[in-house]
């Protein structure tokens, strides 16, 4: 017997083993395939032998060939034979081969069930281990069903080595035989707290895989995982748990919450995750969606506003449930209107968005849309033509909005539509049609306050129509229009609503009178339109306080004896004035019953909170403001309006997105052109640096501008004095301008967290601390107690100094009172004059003469009339205000010189005769010269 074994192994010595096979293949690089086929023949011979060692060796070689791409499934039975060897060495070879080439359709697998069961219960843990490893690769539903119990038993094996393998393979069993999950789960859960970290890790692994398929079912394990997370030192387990917890959505919510905190301090870092946050809007969890919405509010910029709103509009369309949809709607409006419409570059787009929003059914926020329409139409003058056209269409299709009249909040937009059409009726293409639409009988079903607006604005429209009809010879048409009014208005006179009734009857009588005049062929249009003459201006919410109380007026004193309380409430139902018409604020005073003044003031105060007309200060209120003593005023930004795009019909907001992209692209192209030009200049020796950084937010010039009027602050007042105090320039780096800004706190509260931010222009940029983005503000490094002033220095880089610069900026700060702190904002403008770039430089007369002779200088001149001051005062003034030095003075004639920080020479020849001063000037930069002269002229026009 022993001899036989020895003989067998001697035979075997000369069989190729795996190493020989590999070596052989490497030595037969030219005819590898042929060599391998002879090897396979040998292997087939070996497999036919009884000796299990020979068979195992053959199978081992087959495993290698399998890796090289040879099909070895024909040897499947032999592999099973080797697997069932009692020796671990061969068993391992067999299981390895099986794991590499067995799969569900391998039929011999059926034969292995008992063998595997035997191995699983082997006293040798490595037999069991090898079987489990192999099984994990080729487990079939049948095997899973038959062996599930055995494996479950192994989960409680004494050896952790077996336990961890058994736990892990359970996942494969669950996949193939899902029924096993329920009975096995308690034990699996138990294994999360196994004393052996390897078993623990395996259990976490399995549960993570299961939870990935259906997170909800495993939510109950969260506390257990949290415990593991805090106690485990195994990184692998930690990673898995974090992955798992992220499936539970909790993390998503917390993440969004954290982001909203970060957003307040580091908006840039959150903005880069815009897409991710937009994705959260698709989440099935409503609280996550709402969080994401909150975040979006803080993330918009000029660049991405349209895109974000477009996405939100898509969500509005598919949103289920009015609560969430209403939330979306308010967010869209909030996002667009924040900071005085700071991020809107195209108001036609915004109006279209608002119009699209009116198509929502059953929203409660009709009034919100309405107030936005009014606000935009009033404050963005350039948009009025477009807005009026849109509103006219809305009025025309009013029946679509008012399907379910009383409960439908959306009909509020008709309030705005009617008012806009009436007030800006001169922009209407077909006022007659709109007038008819406003006098339709169906209007009588609208809520009272809307009807009132309809009636009043029908009158305005009437005046516009009259004007056009009288202008064009058809006298009868004008009379027909009057007749239309007379026919339709009685409907409103019968209205149950007092406001409507009053207005309608008043206007009806007026129209009847007009008709009489018309029949006498009197031209009335002028006089009728005078009723509605005058521009409506927005008024700041606190403007009333600016009006000084006239002397001798005691606002608290009763004008008449106070009426008894019951009487006033009965006689004057509140409804009349609750929705008071804004027209009262115009100069057309209706008879105000003075008895009610006090009560109405209260009502008005409430109304002002919502009424768009009271939001911002107007130029007229500024006058009042300037008159009020002791209040420093910050310049108001008035921006020219560009001509709006003409888009006929009812446009979709989407098209603006496209238009906007095209516009920006064009701008970019233009900019590039300019850039190129500049570079050429550079090459030709001007040696100035040109920043050609990426398109920054501020470079996007808006298509429409809002009238941004400085928020007035009567109670707390902060003055900003700025002066350019130090200018350094050189040809290479552009020029640096140091601006010292004096902050003076004139209110009674502490001002803190002041952040000074300036919208960089292409030419001038605020130098920000290192690491901060181009939009970050400069944090003022001090706080201001009441009555204190302090100075901060800001450095700007200026590329070109030939033009004066005006930079818009905002100062945000927190006003801290004892009991509250309010965030406030102050808009201001920094003005860099060209003069400020000039440096007083002495020049000798001979050098001056040489300079004038050189012929490089361009000439320009200016005359100042009516200057009543001695000549030397005049020169001193130019020297002081405009940084010149006198080169030479002969009688009433003087030559002056100055140099810009970038080395431009500016020479003046000032002559005076009587009250007229003429200045001839030469400079190598004509633009700079022109601007300097303008500034000199302005200096003298002020005195």
């Amino acid at each position: 017997m022993a001899l036989k074994i020895v003989k067998g192994s001697i035979d075997r010595m000369f069989d190729k083993n795996l190493q020989d096979l590999v070596r052989g293949i490497r030595n037969h690089k030219e005819d590898e395939a042929k060599y391998i086929s002879t090897c396979i023949d040998e292997i087939k011979q070996e497999l036919k032998q009884d000796n299990i060692a020979v068979k195992a060796n053959a199978v081992c070689k087959l495993t290698y060939l399998q890796m090289l791409g040879y099909d070895v499934s024909w040897a499947a039975f032999n592999i099973v034979e080797v697997m069932s060897s009692s020796k671990f060495t061969y068993k391992r070879i067999g299981y390895l081969a099986a794991s590499q080439c067995f799969h569900e359709s391998t039929d011999v697998i059926m034969l292995t069930t008992n063998q595997i069961r035997k191995d699983l219960s082997s006293p040798n843990q490595y037999d069991t281990g090898v079987a489990l490893t192999g099984l994990s690769c080729f487990v079939t539903p049948d095997l899973a069903r038959d062996l599930a119990n055995d494996i479950m038993t192994l989960m409680s094996h004494t050896k952790p080595y077996i336990r961890k393998k058994a736990v892990l393979i359970m996942y494969k069993v669950f996949l193939k035989y899902p029924e096993s999950l329920r009975p096995a789960f308690p034990r699996l859960k138990e294994k999360l707290e196994d004393p052996d970290p390897g078993v623990q890790s395996a259990a976490v692994n399995v549960i993570c895989e299961l939870a990935r398929r259906n997170p909800k079912n495993y939510l109950s394990l969260a506390p257990l995982f949290f415990k593991l997370m805090t106690s485990s030192t195994n990184n692998w387990v930690l990673i898995k748990i974090i992955k798992l917890v992220s499936c539970f959505c909790v993390v998503k919510y917390l993440g969004l919450l954290a982001m909203s905190k970060i957003l307040k301090t580091h908006p840039k870092s959150v903005q880069s995750h815009k897409d991710l946050i937009l994705q959260c809007l698709d989440d099935k969890d409503e609280s996550i969606r709402l969080r994401a919405l909150d975040l979006l509010y803080g993330m918009v910029s000029k660049k991405n506003l349209m895109e974000i709103v477009k996405k939100l509009m898509l969500h509005v369309d598919k949103a289920e449930g009015t609560t969430y949809r209403d939330e979306l709607l308010t967010k869209i409006i909030d996002i667009c209107s924040q900071s005085n419409y700071q991020y809107i570059t195209n108001f036609e787009w915004y109006i279209s968005i608002l119009v699209e929003l009116t198509r929502l059914e059953g929203t409660r926020h009709g009034h919100l849309i309405a107030s936005q329409m009014l606000d935009v139409a009033i404050r963005v003058k350039a948009i009025r033509i477009f807005a009026v056209a849109q509103m006219a269409t809305l009025l025309d299709n009013a029946h679509l909005l008012t399907g379910n009249m009383q409960r439908n909040g959306i009909c509020e937009v008709l309030y705005a539509a009617a008012w806009i059409c009436g007030e800006f009726s001169e922009h209407l293409e077909n006022p007659m049609q709109t007038l008819e639409a406003m006098l339709r009988p169906k209007v009588a079903t609208l809520p009272g306050h809307i009807q009132a607006v309809y009636v009043q604005n029908a009158a305005k429209l009437f005046s516009t129509v009259l004007k056009s009809q009288e202008g064009s010879t058809e006298g009868t048409a004008a009379q027909e229009t009057s007749q239309l009014m007379i026919d339709r208005l009685p409907l409103f006179v019968q209205s149950a609503n007092l406001e409507v009734q009053e207005r309608a009857s008043c206007i009806l009588q007026l129209v009847k009178y007009i008709q009489k005049l018309q029949q006498k062929e009197v031209e009335v249009a002028e006089e009728v339109s005078a009723l509605f003459a005058g521009e409506l201006n927005p008024v700041a919410p606190k403007a009333q306080k600016k009006v000084p109380v006239p002397e001798g007026l005691d606002l608290d004193a009763w004008i008449n004896e106070p009426p008894s309380e019951s009487e006033s409430e009965d006689e004057q139902p509140k409804a009349i004035f609750a929705k008071e018409e804004p027209k009262h604020s115009r100069s057309r005073h209706t008879e105000v019953d003075e008895k009610e003044l006090a009560r109405r003031r209260e009502a008005r105060k409430q109304e002002q909170a919502n009424n768009p007309f009271y939001i911002k200060a107007s130029p007229s209120s500024q006058k009042v403001y300037q008159e009020s003593p002791g209040v420093e005023h910050i310049p108001v930004v008035q921006i020219d309006l560009t001509v709006p795009l003409k888009v006929p019909g009812l446009p979709m907001s989407d098209q603006y997105l496209k238009l906007e992209e095209e516009r920006r692209q064009k701008e970019r192209a233009d900019k590039k052109k300019k850039e190129k030009k500049k570079r050429k200049e550079k090459r030709s020796g001007r040696g100035r640096r040109h920043d050609s950084g990426p398109e920054s937010e501020e470079d996007i010039t808006p298509a429409h501008m809002v009238d941004i009027v400085t928020e007035e602050m009567p109670e707390m007042c902060l003055t900003l004095n700025h002066k350019v105090c130090d200018i350094q320039g050189n040809l290479q780096d552009g020029s640096q301008v140091v601006v010292s800004v004096i902050f003076e706190n004139k209110c009674d509260s502490l001002l803190k967290s002041m952040e000074f931010n300036v919208l960089d222009s292409l030419n001038s940029k605020l130098q920000r601390p290192e690491g901060s983005g181009p939009h970050d503000g400069f944090t003022v490094p001090f706080q201001l107690p009441p009555g204190v002033s302090n100075e901060a220095r800001l450095v700007f880089t200026v590329q070109s100094i030939v033009m004066p610069q005006k930079m818009k900026g905002t100062l945000t700060f927190i006003v801290k009172n004892e009991d509250s702190s309010i965030h406030e904002k102050l808009d201001f403008k920094l003005h860099f004059t060209c003069t400020s770039y000039l440096i007083t430089t002495p020049c000798y007369s001979d050098a001056f003469a040489k300079l004038l002779e050189s012929g490089d200088l361009k000439c320009s001149s200016v005359r100042l009339e009516e200057v009543n001051m001695p000549f030397h005062h005049l020169l001193a003034r130019i020297c002081f205000h405009h940084h010149f030095s006198v080169v030479e003075r002969i009688d009433s004639c003087a030559s002056m010189y100055s140099r810009s920080i970038q080395g431009h020479h500016v020479c003046l020849l000032v002559k005076t005769s009587g009250q007229t001063v003429s200045i001839d000037a030469k400079c190598d930069e004509p633009t700079l010269l022109g601007n300097v002269l303008d500034e000199i002229k302005q200096t003298f026009s002020q005195c």
Binding site: S9, Y70, F88, I93, C137, K240
Partner: protein, 193 residues
């Protein structure tokens, strides 16, 4: 889940392939080729993650690989696995090979692919990570090798002698594929020279 573990050399020759899902032999070869093409054209200084090829899972799957001297170690995993976790696992795998083969080189993998499989089986089981503790892995591998030796006993002696003779010329083969320069890339691995 790990879908496949592949080791191939700089020329795309497979040194180990372990698929945890069934493919035909032809597909397996294609996957190896495709993966090699994806991985080998990437610079040394780019990241170690990329999307799976068309054959293996597409964009739902990631390839996470490390390049050691002449060998690429590629793990194809789904989204439940952490990239860094797998990267660490590859490191553990290679360190374990280094310990078991004493200064592992490509030749060890060429001639002892069965041993590599046995080591891998102690780390990854059926596509799931079984053990990440190197000492534990080595201990189990050693214990099984010891068992194998004791089984071979006297009967195995002649075979071992022959195999020793056969292997005599092995050291003469160029060992230039030594993973020597790894110590530069992985400074925390002094044993990896």
């Amino acid at each position: 889940m790990i879908r496949a573990i592949l080791i191939f050399n700089n020329h795309g020759k497979p040194r180990l392939s372990k698929f945890y899902e069934h493919y035909t032999e032809d597909t397996e070869q294609q996957i190896i080729r495709e993966t090699f093409h994806l991985v080998s054209k990437r610079d040394e200084n780019v990241c170690n993650f990329l999307e799976g090829g068309m054959l293996i899972g597409g964009s739902d799957y990631k390839l996470i690989y490390r390049h050691y001297a002449t060998l690429y170690f590629v793990f194809c995993v789904d989204s439940s696995e952490s990239e860094l976790g797998i990267l660490d696992l590859i490191q553990v795998f290679v360190e374990t090979l280094d310990k078991c083969f004493e200064n592992v080189c490509e030749l060890d993998l060429i001639f002892h692919v069965d041993k590599v499989h046995n080591i891998l089986a102690e780390m990854v089981m059926g596509g799931m990570v079984l053990e990440t503790n190197m000492n534990e892995i080595i201990m189990q591998v050693d214990a099984q090798n010891k068992m194998e030796k004791s089984e071979a006993g006297i009967a195995g002696a002649p075979a071992r002698a022959v195999s020793a003779v056969k292997n005599m010329n092995l050291p003469e083969m160029p060992r230039n594929i030594n993973i020597g320069d790894i110590s530069i890339k992985v400074p925390n691995l002094p044993s990896f020279k």
